[in-house]
Symmetry: C2
Subunit: 480 residues, 2 copies
């Protein structure tokens, strides 16, 4: 019976509930037996508890590591640790890889050094390299010395590439063949190996010096007759990455050309690793998640069961920044307190000027960031983009300035006030579009991530300038 | 010589520049010849222009359809149309699939009916189904009748599944075999076919009735000896999707289990299609892009070269909504104009109360939306989440309320005002955390996308409540 994904999702939730139930019963049993403790009943309950544990462990053993990670993330700290204790040692490494950073750090913190080393022994070298930054230094040392020489070299190679490069995403699990042989020889070799790496949709052709000569899609092995030479069916112009290429470039290429895997070479064109679609997808996901959190100033993902103060601190950097910009805006209003005292209507109207410009500005920022991410914005299109945004802000200024002015006139019946309001909205929209184009572009040119600060900076400008322009115009034009 | 991705990116930019240059020269030539038009020189220049056209066409023919799409998106409307005219008819379909919606609609609008039908003829049926919604009704009719019966049935099948289901993402290009045969027979069959569908990492095993019995990884064909029966090496419990499963579920499964392809079945467990990693990645990308734009209220992606008013209109729905909430906030301030006249300091301080709560609230919203997207939030964790956010808002309220109060005291030297300010910040942070949890959860329960409206609604609440709480407290406590 094929495996049904829909049923599977709800069955995972059921497993989670079942585990919590089993753990609850166990807690009940042990607390009961502590209180009453007549020898015989105690024994019976111990047996029941043991049976339940065995049942639970069997259930856990059947779960895919990714599903086990999902279950662990859904458990409160104490239960999470107890369930983790029941996960088989040879599966712990695979589960650790699938956990979110916050939960992984929690469980690694609870593990003894030899448990960590035991878990890592069942992993590939690129996977070990992925875990190393989360481990204490001593453990890293002992773990490295526990590996055989080839694995250790690979782990060290993987660690030399900074995050965000192709080198940091590549794996070492690949099959290489020579171009002199024919398909039959390759097939015999593969049968002898008895397995192929996951996601291996191609074998790599290298010469004696390890230089990459091309790739051989596994598909070609299936559709060509065994006596055809590899040299005839190999692809001599595959898409190749260098270890120090930015990972973002690999993402673009995998998306654009629908790749499953690609060879990675060093500066001498020697094959050093393989980059596969699952590493690329993980990178995309992590980048997207980081972005979403960074946009609202969260430093890292939060474990829903982590202590309060840890989560509170995670949110502070952004609050502090924002408070500074709010204080500045507040002082700008403070300068015009005389105007507000004489014409109190401006106090009620001023947030509208700031808010509408903040919104259009953030639309511009979103479009520019998107254009940068998709490589659509380059110097030749800069002036085009800028003219367009200025044009739109003029149109929006005319339309929305009039509406806002009308609103002011309806409520305060003062034509000059309404005109000042409309003018201030138009001016601030213009500023918003200019700043909305320049802030992300400048951050990008400085080599910083425009997602990180653009929106805060833009809102700081549109707020302060909104208050300044509107209150300034009101002071000069309305108070004579 | 393998293909170098880094060089490739810059070479694409160079191609773009070269095309623009060629087109410019041509425009120059034709304008010169129009003005001077001495017969002989005219002829020479026509020849030069023709040679350049041939050169340009050769360059275009060598580009991957995805790269051609990239180039077309980077060209202003008139040049884009001229280059499109040079793209070979048999490649146009593939390029159309790769274009962004805005640019595709532009080019389809410029094409004649028979050109569109000619382009579609080179596509698979699921790809044709993807293009149909962008075409005029008459063209759809003529296109469908131009297809052979099998293709037409497949296109119609694909169209019956609403967007966002697995059915709408699936393709029909797959190889099926019977479980009674052995590996040798399958290999002979594949050699006869002379090719395998892209991303086919497995063949599907069906019985006479078309019921899916399992899958046969192509890898198994390589590592097992030819005389092994398929029944012995097939996987009888593959991950399977139903046509009406939500696409989001397929995304989660492809990410969690690192799939390359999976079979799609109907309610009778009959194989009807295949879903592949590239369709899933396209879906993820489109969803992510839609989300980013929707977050700031943009209805659709904008073509940077589209007319101004089209782009301006794209941004209006959000501006209108936002203006309504700004008007409400403005009227709340209006109610307290008496207070502001007597104590003008509150006008300068009130935006701080609104702004800091808006920021913490948006952090909560981002975490809740993320939890919903990753399936981490369920009823059992709801109270946990809520308690946590309330706890954090108390901590943040104490810390940032004090800082804000201190700021008010430094600038206005009035202790009661400072205390009111601190109290208002604490209260509004509490409201922000409650609303930040409930708004996305409620939208999610109502079956709406929480990304779309959460942030606007939250800011509306934190602004209005911020002004109301602060000005209300000031009126009651400070004006006696």
């Amino acid at each position: 019976m094929p495996y049904d994904q829909t049923k599977h999702e709800s069955s995972l939730q059921a497993t989670l509930a079942q585990i919590v139930g089993l753990l609850d019963k166990q807690e009940l049993v042990s607390s009961v037996s502590l209180k009453q403790s007549p020898q015989k009943q105690d024994l019976v309950q111990t047996i029941v508890a043991k049976q339940q544990l065995v049942e639970l462990q069997k259930r856990l053993d059947q779960l895919h590591p990714a599903d086990l990670a999902f279950v662990l993330e859904g458990l409160p700290l104490d239960r999470r640790e107890r369930v983790w204790g029941l996960v088989r040692a040879d599966r712990r490494g695979a589960v650790l890889l699938e956990l979110s950073d916050a939960v992984r750090d929690h469980l690694l913190g609870e593990m003894k050094e030899n448990e960590i080393i035991g878990a890592a022994e069942h992993l590939d070298s690129d996977e070990i390299a992925y875990l190393l930054p989360s481990l204490p230094k001593d453990t890293v040392m002992r773990l490295l010395s526990a590996l055989d020489r080839e694995d250790r070299t690979q782990v060290q190679t993987a660690l030399t590439f900074p995050p965000g490069t192709v080198g940091s995403l590549m794996g070492f699990d690949m099959v290489t063949v020579r171009e002199e042989v024919d398909v039959e020889v390759v097939l015999r070799y593969l049968r002898k190996l008895g397995g192929l790496p996951d996601r291996a949709d191609q074998l790599f052709i290298v010469d004696r010096a390890g230089t990459l000569k091309g790739v051989l899609p596994t598909k070609a092995l299936l559709i060509h007759s065994p006596d055809v030479p590899v040299a005839e069916v190999m692809n001599r112009e595959p898409i190749v990455f260098h270890t120090d290429d930015p990972a973002r470039e690999a993402v673009l290429a995998f998306e654009r050309y629908d790749l499953i895997s690609a060879p990675v070479v060093n500066l001498h064109q020697q094959l050093v690793g393989i980059i596969t679609i699952d590493a690329v997808m993980d990178f995309i996901n992590e980048a997207a998640q980081r972005e979403q959190l960074k946009k609202v100033g969260l430093k890292e993902e939060e474990d829903i069961f982590a202590p309060l103060w840890k989560s509170a601190k995670n949110r502070w950097a952004w609050l502090a920044t924002n408070l500074v910009t709010a204080f500045i805006a507040s002082r700008i209003i403070g300068v015009f307190e005389g105007t507000i005292e004489k014409l109190v209507a401006v106090a009620a109207l001023m947030p509208i000027v700031a808010s509408i410009a903040g919104n259009t500005g953030n639309q511009t920022v979103a479009l520019v960031i998107r254009g940068l991410a998709l490589d659509q914005i380059n110097p030749s299109k800069m002036h085009r983009l800028l003219f367009k945004e200025i044009g739109i802000s003029f149109m929006n200024g005319a339309v929305w300035g009039s509406i806002v002015g009308l609103f002011a006139f309806v409520f305060y019946a003062q034509l000059p006030l309404a005109l000042v309001m409309a003018g201030a909205v138009m001016l601030n929209l213009l500023i918003a579009s200019l700043v909305g184009v320049f802030i992300p572009l400048t951050l990008h040119k400085l080599g910083r991530d425009p997602v990180l600060g653009s929106s805060v900076m833009l809102t700081a400008v549109t707020d302060s300038m909104g208050f300044f322009i509107f209150l300034g115009l009101a002071t000069v034009l309305l108070l004579q």
